[in-house]
């Protein structure tokens, strides 16, 4: 029997919603991006075809795997992936070998098109080689464990430069808060994207995340009267994913981002949160240097494609190569109407 024949792949929307939800909520490696709240937020905002799958043991019928994803149709480069995040790996039952699950998902690509699986080194999923997936490195995510407690982190992990910056921000009178509405934050975020020449998310997406994740979606802001920095975060399974950030460059001399992230870590260290995930970063960038200040650890990310010759579609460095061009056409890319459309097209 071929590995793929040991399991059956079923569409979540074909009556397997509760099975998916239960399996994910019980799985120790689940992330915010495996939850149905993420699916609902994407569905409400973007025109993608949901491709969430439940994998069943062919003999017993029990759920042995679950994978999030959407069909993203582009004229020349369609694929199935979990968009706008780093984690799209299948959750596989702990006593189950992952290869049959991966093989069955690979077999499905014959009918639905290429699948891109975004994985991370701690997912525990292996078997990509045997199942015939091609891989590519996609950078690192920075993760900070909060187990030592905030005081010890500040003493041992935080860079002295960070401590100085926080003192500077406090002296400048910047105020940190847990915010309710997203209006002010989205304007800040749009300004940031305009500065970076990168297409922004529509405001509706942030609102959808707030609605679907409810108390697990947090927005923290730093104000100097008006909002000067903010971060939107999703919390699941003891991990807080810092999803999107916005900041006003005019206030950079007062170090609002240093204060913002430090206070967020302080707040989370006193709650049920074990890890702060700063999100994917190019390890050679200035953003990586900023994340280094907190003593966060870089964790390797990779994407796997089936068929393997479609691995180019999983390679996000292609977008980086476009950077010089994006600066030229930045105003068009970040236009309030055009930008979100492009974001939907890029799906990253």
């Amino acid at each position: 029997m071929e590995p793929a024949d040991r399991v059956r792949v079923r569409d979540l929307d074909a009556g397997f919603r509760s099975e998916y939800e239960q399996f994910v909520s019980d799985h120790p490696a689940r992330t915010a991006f495996h939850r149905l709240a993420w699916k609902q937020a994407i569905e409400r905002t973007f025109d993608y075809e949901p491709a969430y799958r439940v994998v069943l043991n062919a003999a017993s019928g029990e759920v042995v795997g679950a994978i999030p994803g959407f069909g993203i149709q582009r004229m020349l480069a369609s694929s199935h992936r979990n968009p706008f995040c780093e984690y799209g790996f299948p959750l596989v039952a702990e006593d189950t070998w992952a290869e049959p699950v991966l093989a069955a998902l690979a077999e499905e690509t014959n009918s639905i098109g290429p699948r891109i699986i975004k994985d991370v080194s701690f997912s525990g999923v292996s078997g990509y080689r045997a199942a015939g997936y091609g891989g590519v490195d996609t950078g690192v995510t920075y993760r900070l464990p909060l187990a030592p407690g905030f005081d010890r982190l500040r003493e041992t992990a935080f860079d002295p430069e960070l401590r100085r910056a926080v003192r500077q921000a406090t002296r400048a009178g910047l105020a940190f808060e847990l915010a309710d509405g997203i209006d002010g934050f989205h304007r800040l975020y749009q300004d940031t994207m305009r500065r970076l020449g990168s297409p922004p998310f529509p405001q509706a997406f942030f609102q959808a995340l707030k609605d679907t994740f409810q108390e697990d979606c947090r927005l923290w802001m730093v104000r100097d009267g008006e909002p000067v920095a903010g971060v939107l975060a999703l919390r699941t399974n003891g991990t807080c994913h810092l999803l999107v950030n916005g900041s006003n460059r005019d206030h950079f001399p007062d170090r609002p981002n240093h204060l913002l992230y430090t206070r967020v870590i302080e707040q989370l260290a006193g709650t049920r949160t074990d890890i702060v995930d700063f999100g994917r970063t190019d390890p050679d960038s200035g953003v990586a240097d900023f994340k280094d200040l907190f003593g966060a650890t870089p964790v390797r990310l990779a994407s796997f494609a089936h068929p393997p010759d479609f691995v180019g579609r999983a390679n996000v460095s292609g977008l980086k190569q476009l950077a010089p061009m994006t600066r030229l056409v930045g105003p068009a890319l970040t236009h309030p109407i055009v930008g979100p459309r492009l974001k939907e097209l890029i799906a990253e």
Binding site: V125, Y128, T297, P308, D309
Partner: protein, 225 residues
């Protein structure tokens, strides 16, 4: 004729472009599969729930490397070198200790009674457990001797009893010494025992037990100091 040439030329261009396209796809697949093999071979697929290292541990490693004066990557080799040096120094100290104790015994033997049972009490001002034990071991190399060694600075003491004295127990003598002190403990076996009591009580306690033993064994000897 011209039309045929254009047709052939066009077909050639299509052939070359198609060939290049598929070569590129093939190379992408090959690179992707190579990456997958490397990802799984390097143990990238762990089940560590955090995927991270405790930053205080990272800092400790960094500080250790700075103290050792080497880059973090060379820390394991440097620790191994230090460990080898430590073991070598330990052996050297042990050799010197034995040489010193042997020398002391060589001098002391000149004034000790020969060929008759004896109790020898050795008091030192520093050296701790290792040194007093080295003195007590002398009894194990003779036929009819009890050696009581003690260190005034640490309160450590040791008792050695020759094999020929099978009616004496080093462990029981150590117990007697502890009974003469306000606190402490000791233990061992028939021929060798060690213990520790408060430093300010050790000389009196050992001397008291020595005095009790002497009439039963032989003439005592003065302490080393």
């Amino acid at each position: 004729m011209t039309g045929a040439a254009i047709l052939i030329g066009g077909l050639l261009v299509v052939l070359v472009v198609t060939n290049l396209y598929w070569r590129r796809r093939l190379a992408a697949a090959r690179d992707g599969l190579r990456h997958t093999i490397e990802w799984e071979a390097t143990g990238a697929t762990t089940k560590d729930p955090t995927g991270t290292v405790d930053p205080s541990l990272q800092l400790a490693v960094k500080e250790a490397a700075e103290t050792a004066g080497v880059p973090v990557e060379e820390l394991p080799e440097r620790v191994e070198t230090y460990e080898k040096q430590r073991r070598k120094r330990g052996k050297e100290i042990e050799r010197l200790r034995e040489a010193w104790v042997d020398s002391w015994w060589a001098v002391a033997e000149r004034s000790l009674p020969r060929n008759e049972p004896r109790v020898v009490t050795v008091g030192i001002d520093a050296g701790g457990h290792e040194v007093v034990r080295a003195f007590a071991i002398h009894a194990l190399e003779t036929d009819d001797e009890i050696v009581l060694g003690y260190d005034r600075s640490s309160g450590a003491f040791a008792v050695g009893v020759s094999e020929g004295f099978d009616h004496w127990s080093a462990a029981e003598i150590a117990g007697d010494i502890v009974e003469h002190a306000p606190s402490g403990g000791g233990g061992g076996h028939q021929q060798l025992a060690t213990g520790k009591i408060p430093p300010d009580a050790v000389a009196d306690a050992v001397e008291a037990v020595s005095t009790e033993l002497e009439p039963q064994v032989s003439t005592p000897m003065a302490p080393a100091d």
